[in-house]
């Protein structure tokens, strides 16, 4: 054995024992492993049986209506789906929001509450990258949660012989919108649960940001549309993740109805606000993990 490389900076576990001279995976592998573990933990895989109940119960509840819709379409021979792919996600938003609120603390609170974050950060993985990977895990888990029923609807539509090109366009639009929504919701709930470490308060905080805020925005939108204040109604939609989603879906013709059609410069405003919100949550998460990691 010759020419053993000197221990790398930033690694603290070299206590003078016999060296490990196998292959050392880099930061990329650590990040990938962290991402996959986070994704599995979001669904309770690799954790106790009890923690699998909640995510899979919610997933089953969001898949069940899609199965019923597919059954009805196949049996009655409809010429189109009674609900568009993007609108299905919108109609089941309560389940998506609950899933995000329930599982975000699993990924973001536990490491900070039990201080095991210090052990993670003792490895050559930086705090910003750790935050980023956690966020990506939750976003992909959420995206998966929305994509499963969507895909089921699509398979049902294909099997019952609906127009292929039409359905594919709608599906791709819905998937793109769901991706944006997943990034957005993961950022918001992740930030809330990394600040509020008690699980109960993180969940209530997330529910406030996702469900209560959306309820308030919807009420304002409905009332403003009722009073013929169209601009107010569209502008109110900028203030909650779900109204951003429905607004963009409406503007993009993905089969979602809003109180007032979103068009013109508003579309750009909606897209910009959504992207800025994602960026803002990410910056907040990175700042939070850097602060906690340096203590």
């Amino acid at each position: 054995m010759s020419d053993v490389p000197q221990s790398r900076p930033g690694v603290i576990h070299d206590l003078g024992y016999r060296r490990y001279d196998g292959l050392r995976e880099g930061t990329a592998t650590i990040a990938r492993t962290l991402f996959i573990t986070g994704l599995r933990h979001a669904y309770g895989l690799g954790r106790s049986g009890k923690s699998k109940v909640m995510p899979f119960l919610l997933l089953a509840m969001s898949v069940l209506p899609a199965l019923i819709v597919v059954g009805v379409v196949v049996l009655t021979g409809m010429s189109s789906l009674p609900i568009s792919y993007a609108d299905y996600t919108n109609q089941t938003q309560l389940l998506v929001s609950l899933f995000a609120a329930a599982q975000a603390p699993v990924l973001f609170s536990r490491d900070l509450r039990h201080r095991s974050i210090v052990l993670y950060l003792a490895r050559p993985l930086s705090a910003p990258l750790f935050a980023l990977m956690r966020w990506l895990s939750l976003a992909v888990a959420l995206w998966f949660f929305m994509a499963v029923p969507t895909l089921l609807l699509f398979v049902g539509a294909m099997l019952s012989g609906l127009d292929k090109s039409d359905q594919v366009t709608q599906l791709l639009k819905a998937v793109a919108l769901q991706t944006l929504l997943a990034l957005l919701v993961a950022g918001i709930t992740g930030l809330i649960s990394s600040v509020s470490l008690r699980r109960g308060f993180a969940v209530v905080g997330s529910v406030m940001a996702l469900i209560v805020l959306t309820g308030v925005v919807t009420a304002i939108q409905a009332i403003a549309a009722d009073q013929d204040a169209d601009a107010v109604s569209v502008a109110a939609g900028l203030f909650s993740p779900w109204s951003l989603y429905t607004g963009l879906a409406n503007a993009w013709d993905a089969g979602v109805e809003t109180f007032v059609p979103v068009d013109g410069a508003w579309v750009l405003a909606y897209a910009l606000v959504a992207l800025l919100l994602v960026a803002g949550c990410l910056l907040g998460l990175v700042a939070r993990f850097q602060k906690v990691g340096s203590r």
């Binding site: 954790r47 106790s48 009890k50 923690s51 909640m54 509840m61 309560l94 389940l95 609950l98 609120a101 329930a102 536990r110 509020s196 008690r198 699980r199 109960g200 308060f201 969940v203 209530v204 905080g205 529910v207 406030m208 469900i211 209560v212 309820g215 308030v216 009420a219 304002i220 009332i223 403003a224 009722d226 009073q227």
Partner: protein
């Protein structure tokens, strides 16, 4: 049965630090929204916020927050065993904690609904809704306390009851009203003002509310009596 010291400690846990602001956010948000809409829109648009958002969402959320803050953190970090080691009846512990959660629910959940409803005018309707909120708030707090004593996922389980069972399925199937705490409260309020909906039978609504409240508190005490600590799952 009631133990003043335990109630005082529960109150401190409830009002301590940041969670107090979270609890305060709900009434402030509700009253501000209703005032804003009363000022800007005409017609009955502002009152519709209350049966649509304030009563079915804000009231149960306040109850969940209150019930889980008096019991949840202690169960979560296991420090409840120090409380249970004291020679105090476990039912007394449950009742003392419930009284605090109830007071918080009624102050931060039911009272703002009354204030907001009075802002929109028509005081009969406002008082009717307040009575409904009192009945529902009492029942909610007992049920959520019982759930907090059973599972670590109390908040999510309670939220699923409120959002999926009462709101989502309740809007689809009218029969859910017979097993929905919010609807029982509305039914009692209906006696004062016919503007509230009339979902179920009055006797049933009153009896069911009483039974759920009593059984909820008793069950929380019973769970504490045979409490066992488990690790993080």
């Amino acid at each position: 049965m009631m133990n003043a010291t335990i109630a005082k400690l529960a109150l401190q846990a409830l009002l301590g630090r940041r969670r107090f602001y979270l609890l305060l956010a709900f009434p402030v948000l509700l009253i501000a929204l209703v005032s804003l809409i009363t000022a800007l829109a005409d017609g009955d648009a502002a009152f519709d916020i209350l049966p649509g958002l304030g009563y079915p969402l804000v009231l149960p959320l306040v109850a969940i927050l209150a019930a889980s803050s008096v019991l949840g953190p202690e169960v979560d970090d296991g420090s409840i065993i120090y409380l249970l080691a004291k020679p105090v009846s476990r039912y007394g512990v449950a009742i003392s904690k419930w009284v605090v959660a109830l007071a918080a629910t009624l102050t931060a959940g039911a009272l703002p609904i009354l204030v907001a409803a009075l802002i929109t005018g028509d005081s009969t309707r406002a008082w009717a809704l307040f009575v409904g909120a009192l009945v529902a708030g009492t029942t909610y707090s007992a049920l959520f306390l019982a759930i907090s004593a059973v599972t670590r996922h109390a908040v999510i389980a309670s939220l699923m009851f409120v959002l999926i069972w009462e709101s989502l399925l309740g809007n689809l199937f009218t029969g859910v009203a017979w097993l929905s705490i919010g609807q029982w409260g509305l039914r009692v309020g209906h006696e004062l003002s016919a503007q509230l909906p009339d979902p179920a039978n009055l006797t049933w609504a009153i009896l069911a509310s009483l039974v759920v409240t009593a059984v909820g508190v008793w069950f929380a005490g019973d769970r504490l009596r045979s409490f066992s600590l488990r690790g993080e799952d």
